[in-house]
């Protein structure tokens, strides 16, 4: 398993905000994700986007 989701990027600004530290951004849904979801994106604590993330699964279904 990769150590992070293939759709995860870290960005330091949105249309409305700039962040001192880059934050987790999901390229499937095109938005920053909540901190709890970022743990899935980063495969922390045994989480796996291919199993635990509905955004990932919807994206794979669409392909």
């Amino acid at each position: 398993m990769a150590n992070q989701c293939q759709y995860l990027e870290y960005r330091d600004q949105s249309d409305e905000q700039e962040y001192a530290e880059p934050r987790a951004y999901c390229t499937v849904v095109d938005r920053f994700v909540q901190p709890m979801r970022a743990d899935i994106c980063n495969c922390r604590y045994g989480l796996n986007p291919k199993i635990d993330c509905e955004f990932f699964l919807e994206s794979e279904d669409a392909v």
């Binding site: 905000q17 962040y19 001192a20 938005r31 909540q34 901190p35 743990d39 604590y45």
Partner: protein, 278 residues
């Protein structure tokens, strides 16, 4: 407890839940995340009338942190910024391994209180915070060893069933939080609050919190039932419909005003400690 407590004008303890562990600045730009931001919010909430601070820790990028070291940074900053607040660390942590869940209990000094989730709850589409009975027992055991009073978080009626079985383990009045919102929390309705309160033993002190638009009505209803209340941006980012809260303190200030209007005196910290048996 109950309406009699309201008639007796018993003091209400106000908890401020400043940050939480779910959303961050991507959702609420003024949510305090860093230790310094959390400390500033804590100081403002103390001035506004809160006596308990419910704390979570975050990494520098806003993501969740469970380590003792990060909680130490947060609690040190908060203790420096405030005069005399009851510090309550969260032990919540959907998907985090059990051993990490006890980390917030290990700061020096230990927090006076800590949350204890009393059963499973769902998150997103595919996550469940399991909070097994064994984990509840293990966390409670650490709390007893470290003389930390648990805030028993009851997200639904099933969790109250779980809680009733352990109440005889307490030497001081048990303190439970009745939680209302969507998903696995209790359906937010005054009738359901009354029902839960009716099922509490008489020696239990209860706190009410509601998520999002339910924060104001459920906490206000709790005032008439003798309950304590929790407000803050962890649970609700809005001051009113379509208008974000300016700060955690703004939500505390409103709670203080409402309590005053309905003639529930707001407990200062020493009164809160007395009520809680700290």
């Amino acid at each position: 407890m109950g309406y009699r407590s309201y008639l007796d004008r018993n003091p209400v303890i106000i908890t401020a839940a400043l940050t939480g562990g779910v959303q961050g600045k991507e959702t609420v730009s003024n949510l305090p995340e860093s230790p310094e931001e959390i400390a500033a919010a804590a100081e403002a909430c103390e001035r506004a009338g809160a006596s308990i601070l419910h704390l979570h820790a975050r990494r520098p990028n806003g993501e969740r942190a469970f380590s003792r070291e990060r909680f130490q940074q947060v609690t040190d900053e908060v203790r420096d910024a405030t005069e005399d607040m009851i510090i309550q660390h969260s032990t919540g942590g959907t998907a985090a391994p059990d051993e990490l869940r006890a980390e917030p209990l290990m700061t020096n000094p230990a927090p006076e209180m800590a949350s204890l989730d009393m059963g499973p709850l769902n998150r997103y589409e595919r996550l469940t915070s399991e909070n097994t009975r064994q984990l509840v027992k293990d966390l409670h055991s650490v709390m007893r060893e470290r003389k930390i009073k648990p805030e028993l978080e009851i997200f639904n009626g099933g969790h109250l069933n779980e809680t009733l079985h352990i109440l005889d383990e307490f030497e001081t009045p048990p303190y439970v939080s009745l939680i209302f919102g969507g998903g696995t929390t209790t359906i937010p309705h005054p009738r359901n609050l009354i029902n839960l309160v009716d099922n509490l033993p008489t020696n239990v002190e209860f706190n009410v919190l509601g998520f999002g638009p339910h924060q104001l009505p459920m906490t206000t209803t709790g005032l008439f039932l003798g309950g304590h209340l929790r407000v803050g941006m962890e649970d609700n980012a809005y001051y009113r419909r379509g208008e974000f809260a300016e700060s955690n303190a703004q939500l505390v200030e409103r709670a203080v005003r409402i309590a005053s209007e309905v003639e529930r005196p707001v407990a200062d910290t020493s009164q809160a400690r007395e009520i809680l048996g700290l």
